[in-house]
């Protein structure tokens, strides 16, 4: 026996011999895998590098987003590694798109810390998106198991409770973003809030980049906004609110601003997506504990959500934000100025509002999802919409939505109140017509014109924004067609 101890104890199995072996062979591919109810499922759009087999690419994605590293490690054998390895179990070519594949991966639920979006996403999107073996990678959809969802709070308030608190039922809510978004003094800013709310809106809103700049520090904004809100509530007899953006450089400052908003009597605060998943979950718990509606502005999402071949589909962000606990999220308008294919937007709305979501490939919903009684998150439609589109908005977006007309309120020639009133009248007449059984989509323009006869501001708005639409092709579109997906 002349061998050294290290030679004698070397691992003999093929699988664990040191070196580099394909991920599929390492155990990250199992075509016969039977998905467990407790598994977390992910669907990736994978563009493998030239010459890389799609199955191997999918296995590599499974490996790199779970336990694997680039080479074999003997320390795997100290773990129940078969359990912790993610399993790629299905690969389909993307319809009509050579070179791209839909890869399905199943993850054991014990890979993820309970109630931690940061931990879950650190696995699923942690390293793998920079992996060289794939040219591009996009996370298209996820199925979050019921058991794991139960470890998340979900929306702090939710659609049902928000409506009960606001005493507003049977119609979409109406909002507007204060414009210009930067530069107004506190006193002028509060004026816009007051005018819009008095004219008939339910909410005004800070924009994503209004925090606490030299031209207006946050206390000024909060104090004047609250004056505007309360004056408008007294003038109309309605509950009103304005999303006070509490986003700040540190979490301590976020809490300070949120507490101040609560003491002032605000019913809603707002955060930006760029503050990060952990901060969002923290403020969502705070919001639940303090009876506060929590509005999320999806600032930054288009940097990774818009292009079809790489990044994260926005429906996944919708899922994560419903788990994280926000009450509102901007989710597209279909007809406005921002990206939004009709079918894709429908899929986002289902993700935010359904009790259970069914598979719907044209809408990009690859997995059935039971939402485990997490509350509903209210979609917000904002960006380049106006009252002349009310029939289309109601048709595409339904009742559970906040329709936000920023320019479409503040840009009204007769003033902000007139702009708000035009929007509210247009909304109410369209809901009335729909409920009466009229073909409101086809007759929409006529219904609005009739209403404008008794509402001057509406007539002015319809004349001003007549024919304004944003007819650009969407970049994020359906892979499985049921109907034409042209922008409207």
């Amino acid at each position: 026996m002349s061998q050294s101890v290290s030679e004698r104890t070397r691992i003999k199995s093929d699988r664990y011999e040191s070196g580099v072996i394909p991920y599929a062979k390492m155990g990250y591919w199992d075509a016969a895998y039977s998905v467990k109810q407790t598994d977390l499922l992910a669907l990736f759009r994978i563009t493998p590098q030239q010459g890389v087999d799609p199955v191997e690419a999918t296995a590599a994605v499974a490996g790199e987003s779970s336990t694997a590293t680039w080479t074999v490690v003997w320390t795997d054998l100290l773990t129940a590694c078969d359990v912790y390895r993610a399993k790629a179990y299905r690969v389909d070519p993307v319809p009509n798109t050579p070179g791209q594949y839909f890869g399905y991966v199943a993850y054991e639920v014990d890979l993820f810390e309970e109630g931690s979006l940061a931990n879950m996403t650190a696995s699923i999107i942690g390293n793998v998106f920079g992996f060289k073996a794939v040219k591009a990678l996009r996370l298209e959809d996820m199925r979050i198991p019921f058991a794991y969802l139960k470890t998340f709070q979900g929306p702090a308030t939710g659609v049902v409770v928000e409506r009960e608190r606001m005493d507003k039922f049977g119609r979409p809510l109406l909002g507007a973003t204060v414009k210009p978004k930067l530069g107004l003094s506190g006193k002028n800013y509060g004026r816009v809030v007051f005018e819009g709310l008095k004219g008939g809106l339910d909410f005004l809103k800070d924009d994503e980049n209004i925090n606490s700049q030299a031209f207006m520090r946050w206390r000024e904004r909060f104090l004047y906004c609250q004056e505007g809100i309360q004056r408008a509530a007294a003038a109309t007899g309605e509950v009103k609110g304005s999303y006070l953006n509490v986003t700040a450089g540190t979490m301590e400052a976020v809490y300070e601003r949120a507490e101040y908003a609560k003491e002032l009597g605000s019913i809603v605060i707002m955060i930006d997506l760029v503050m990060g998943y952990t901060a969002i979950q923290s403020i969502a718990y705070w919001a639940r504990n303090n009876d506060m509606i929590l509005h999320l502005h999806r600032a930054g999402n288009s940097t990774y959500a818009r292009q079809k071949n790489h990044g994260i589909n926005f429906r996944v962000i919708c899922k994560w934000m419903r788990m994280a606990g926000v009450d509102h999220i901007h989710a597209g308008t279909v007809v406005g100025k921002l990206e939004g294919d009709p079918l894709m937007v429908k899929g986002f709305y289902h993700t935010l509002l359904d009790v259970k979501t069914d598979v719907n490939l044209p809408q990009g919903l690859f997995f059935a999802q039971d939402w485990a009684s997490l509350r509903k998150c209210l979609p917000v439609a904002s960006g380049g919409i106006h009252c002349g589109q009310m029939h289309q908005l109601l048709n595409y977006l339904g009742d559970d939505v906040v329709l936000q007309f920023g320019g479409g309120t503040i840009g009204h020639p007769d003033g902000i109140q007139a702009g708000a009133t035009a929007n509210r009248v247009a909304l109410e007449i369209m809901v009335l017509a729909r409920n009466e059984g009229r073909d409101y989509v086809a007759e929409g323009p006529e219904i609005l014109q009739d209403a404008a006869k008794m509402c001057g501001p509406l007539q002015t708005a319809l004349d001003l924004w007549k024919g304004i639409s944003f007819n650009y092709a969407s970049t994020d579109t359906a892979d499985f067609s049921e109907t034409a997906t042209a922008n409207v």
């Binding site: 049902v160 409506r163 039922f169 008939g200 609250q226 007899g237 009597g265």
Partner: protein
């Protein structure tokens, strides 16, 4: 002022024919419909007085319209609203609400400001009508 609670307060007051169509819409959705009235329309007055129980399992809007007429007879000058309830899982709440009668004269609300520390203000909204007279004599 005009109280703008409810789904249709920016439109001219609904006619009975229009109200009936809304009731029909609610019934077709399987919702229960109820009638409530008040002479205290404060925005946070959650509990208006019930006009009987919500009408469950009704087939004909006429039943609701009859109760509305009765409620109007009993409360000729106050606010009356109609609401619909959806009992299905995930909602279990009010899903439609609109005013079907309002007083001829609506005096509105006073905004009471109580100055506090620094620039802090505590706001209280008070209905003029409830300040002057007791319940039942206000409108």
């Amino acid at each position: 002022m005009r109280l703008t609670q409810g789904a249709f307060s920016f439109l001219p007051d609904l006619t009975d024919a229009q109200i009936q169509k809304q009731v029909q819409y609610c019934i077709a959705k399987g919702w229960a419909v109820n009638i409530e009235w008040t002479d205290d329309p404060h925005p946070r007055n959650t509990y208006w007085d019930l006009w009987g129980l919500p009408l469950f399992d009704i087939k004909d809007p006429a039943a609701v319209m009859f109760e509305l007429a009765e409620c109007r007879k009993a409360n000729p000058t106050g606010y009356i609203k109609m609401q619909a309830f959806n009992a299905s899982i995930g909602t279990e709440s009010c899903v439609h609400a609109f005013i079907v009668q309002r007083p001829n004269y609506e005096p509105g609300f006073f905004l009471q400001r109580t100055e506090s520390d620094g620039r802090f203000i505590r706001y209280t909204i008070v209905s003029y009508a409830t300040q002057k007279l007791p319940a039942g004599d206000r409108y």
